[in-house]
């Protein structure tokens, strides 16, 4: 989150613009390096369960996270390491959750991408695709009840998840209630191994917007500028009463579905097309062309980031594992209604 962003300031001066880009780039790089680190830990057998990366989606994800303000709501999905960081999530929350640390926000109960801090507006995804959008709607509706105006909720989703009933019901619900929802579809060409031709039959998901009565923008998801502008504009429109906004970003997943997946099904033509452009590299080149970040500054930035991540990993690795005997094993908040395990009762 930034104080100044494209959604608030119609015309930014050069310095403000540079600051935003530099900040965005920092989150992109932070996410990329963090993803690389998590992948390495996974390969080394240090992370149980799956590891899901956002490689290739950092520009889009960052643009969303950075354009939100304090008090806004964000429901990231599996490829939003960058957006989470930009929204304010700490590296440590990610590492701890991947490691299952009891000090992380999920306390070892849930893991990897299934993390968040709902009270701080960062929703912890459940795995069922499409299910988080209506939850964002609910928060936005609550704020309307509470007469808190001016907040926005953003939800991210892949093109594959648009095939779920949950996606449809929730987007429609937001449109009927005219909620300030920004729904960001990362069309990364594949859902796991399934190409989008097996997922929908329209030429672009942007075509869906008129059928819901919501605004829409299509962007090149590999281009940080385009993403920043689109996210800023959509968030601003939602914030000022324009109702739900859709963003459809075209890009390519530059990794496997998860780190277990070699993704040899990806069409090489797509990899060599403009969709396959690495947004982090592109952004770095853009910053260099603008003389906002030279090679040595970039190297320095990377070094700082590597240190930050190594420190977080080292800390999480020093932390004890969750202790099953210290666990309450209680799924309800109403302690007085908790029965305990039947087999642990008297016989």
């Amino acid at each position: 989150m930034l104080q100044t962003a494209f959604d608030t300031e119609p015309s930014l001066d050069a310095k403000e613009e540079r600051d935003i880009y530099l900040s965005a780039f920092r989150f992109m790089l932070l996410a990329r390096v963090l993803d690389d680190k998590l992948a390495a830990l996974y390969r080394a057998g240090k992370i149980h369960g799956g590891v899901f990366l956002g490689r290739g989606q950092e520009a889009l994800s960052t643009a969303v996270g950075i354009s939100l303000r304090e008090g806004d709501v964000f429901a990231p999905l599996i490829r939003d390491a960058a957006g989470r960081l930009a929204f304010g999530e700490s590296v440590l929350d990610s590492v701890r959750t991947h490691m299952g640390s009891p000090h992380g926000p999920m306390r070892g109960r849930d893991g990897n991408v299934h993390r968040g801090r709902p009270r701080e507006g960062l929703l912890p995804m459940i795995s069922h695709l499409g299910a988080m959008i209506s939850v964002v709607n609910g928060i936005l509706l609550a704020r309307r009840f509470q007469k808190k105006s001016g907040t926005v909720g953003a939800a991210c989703i892949g093109e594959g998840a648009t095939s779920t009933g949950a996606f449809h019901e929730a987007l429609n619900q937001a449109a009927v209630e005219k909620l300030p929802l920004v729904l960001v579809i990362a069309d990364n060409q594949y859902a796991y191994s399934t190409p989008k031709s097996r997922q929908f039959a329209c030429d672009s998901l942007a075509r869906k917007a008129p059928g819901y009565g919501v605004g829409v923008q299509t962007v090149d998801g590999t281009d940080l500028s385009e993403c920043l502008k689109a996210a800023g504009a959509a968030i601003s429109r939602a914030r000022t009463g324009g109702g739900p906004q859709l963003i459809v970003a075209n890009l390519l997943r530059l990794c496997g579905h998860g780190e277990h997946d070699v993704a040899d099904y990806v069409d090489p033509k797509l990899m060599n097309s403009s969709l396959g452009r690495d947004c982090v590299k592109a952004a770095e080149e853009f910053l260099a062309r603008r003389h906002w970040l030279d090679a040595s500054q970039a190297a320095g930035l990377r070094e700082d980031i590597v240190h930050e991540i190594e420190a977080a990993v080292a800390q999480a690795q020093r932390e004890p594992a969750p202790d099953p005997f210290a666990e309450e094993w209680r799924a309800i908040a109403s302690e007085h209604l908790c029965e305990g395990q039947p087999e642990h009762r008297r016989i």
């Binding site: 299934h114 459940i126 069922h128 299910a131 209506s134 609550a142 619900q173 799924a331 209604l337």
Partner: protein, 321 residues
């Protein structure tokens, strides 16, 4: 002035809306229309903006409620029929029921399910599905059998910090009447001795409580004294009260309108045999709906679910042992 079970539900919602600004109601046709069963009659007028018509989107309805709860509201979701909640099943069991455990943030939502069979309603407007919700950790499942409980338990449901599946029986909506609303009530989690007895315990809930009492009356003509335990809440389940009753009677018959496999009746028997095996002097038995969808024709329907008659027959069987 007398009130029906349905009116008690309406009154409880009115009071919840009045007393707590965090409460709102969301569901199909609940607004100006007052709901398919009129359980929210006039509430949209009395509480403008707080009783909201939803699209026909059960999944999103529940998701919306969870989001609002995260933000400190206390939503009541009305499903038009319990059967349709199955379209929103995932949001209930995976979103609402896991939130507190995963994040420490409570999820105080109440999902009202008009449930259970009525004559002529058929397979998709009659289901008793408390067991599939009770199977999941993280949910409270309530099944009031009386006008008073419908009122007090719904108020308590809204006040609880957990997702509550509130199973209100459609058969009781108009049939059941009380003189006035209660001032005090047993808390959620406590069963009630609906009728005292010493020869056999019938543990049951919701509409079946009345069939059981009817059966008990019939059997009292033969000199049998049947104790009827009204569970009130199927999750949590007040095993202590049931076991204490079985300690008095030595015999247990569990009656449920739902299907047998893994239902409330199976859960009770498992608990009572684990905790009070020595108290039983005959095999505990259960009586449930038949193992088919709920039939449409009244004759079939009457044979499909337990009735006072079949409860009495099962009880006699057990008493003979």
């Amino acid at each position: 002035m007398s009130l029906t079970y349905l009116e008690a539900i309406r009154e409880a919602q009115a009071r919840a809306l009045r007393d707590d600004p965090r409460v709102f109601i969301y569901g199909q046709d609940v607004g100006a229309f007052g709901g398919a069963f009129k359980a929210t009659k006039n509430l949209a007028v009395e509480f403008p903006g707080r009783v909201i018509d939803s699209p026909i989107s059960e999944d999103a309805m529940v998701g919306m409620a969870v989001g609002a709860a995260i933000e400190g509201m206390r939503p009541i979701v009305e499903m038009q029929f319990a059967d349709f909640s199955l379209v929103g099943f995932n949001q209930i069991v995976n979103q609402a029921a896991t939130l507190y455990w995963r994040t420490n943030v409570p999820c105080p939502i109440t999902v009202r399910l008009p449930f259970g069979g009525t004559s002529g309603s058929g397979p998709f407007h009659s289901q008793s599905i408390e067991a599939i919700y009770a199977h999941y950790p993280g949910l409270i499942v309530l099944t009031p059998a009386t006008v008073e409980d419908a009122y007090s338990m719904l108020l308590e449901a809204v006040a609880l910090d957990d997702p509550v599946i509130f199973c209100e029986h459609k058969f009781l909506y108009y049939h059941l009447k009380a003189e006035k609303l209660p001032d005090e009530a047993l808390p959620v989690g406590k069963a009630r001795i609906a009728r005292e007895g010493r020869d056999l315990t019938i543990a049951t809930y919701s509409a079946m409580v009345h069939e059981a009492i009817e059966a008990a009356k019939e059997l009292s003509g033969d000199g049998w004294e049947i104790e009827v335990v009204d569970l009130r809440s199927v999750k949590p389940l007040d095993t202590d009260t049931i076991v204490a009753s079985v300690a008095r009677t030595g015999k247990l018959l569990c009656v449920g309108e739902a299907w047998p496999w893994g239902g409330v009746t199976a859960e009770i028997i498992s608990r009572v045999t684990a905790e009070g095996f020595g108290l039983l002097d005959a095999p505990p038995q259960r009586l449930n709906a038949k193992e088919t969808p709920v039939p449409y024709h009244p004759n079939l329907w009457a044979a499909h679910r337990p009735t006072a008659r079949s409860v009495a027959a099962a009880a006699r069987n057990l008493l003979r042992q």
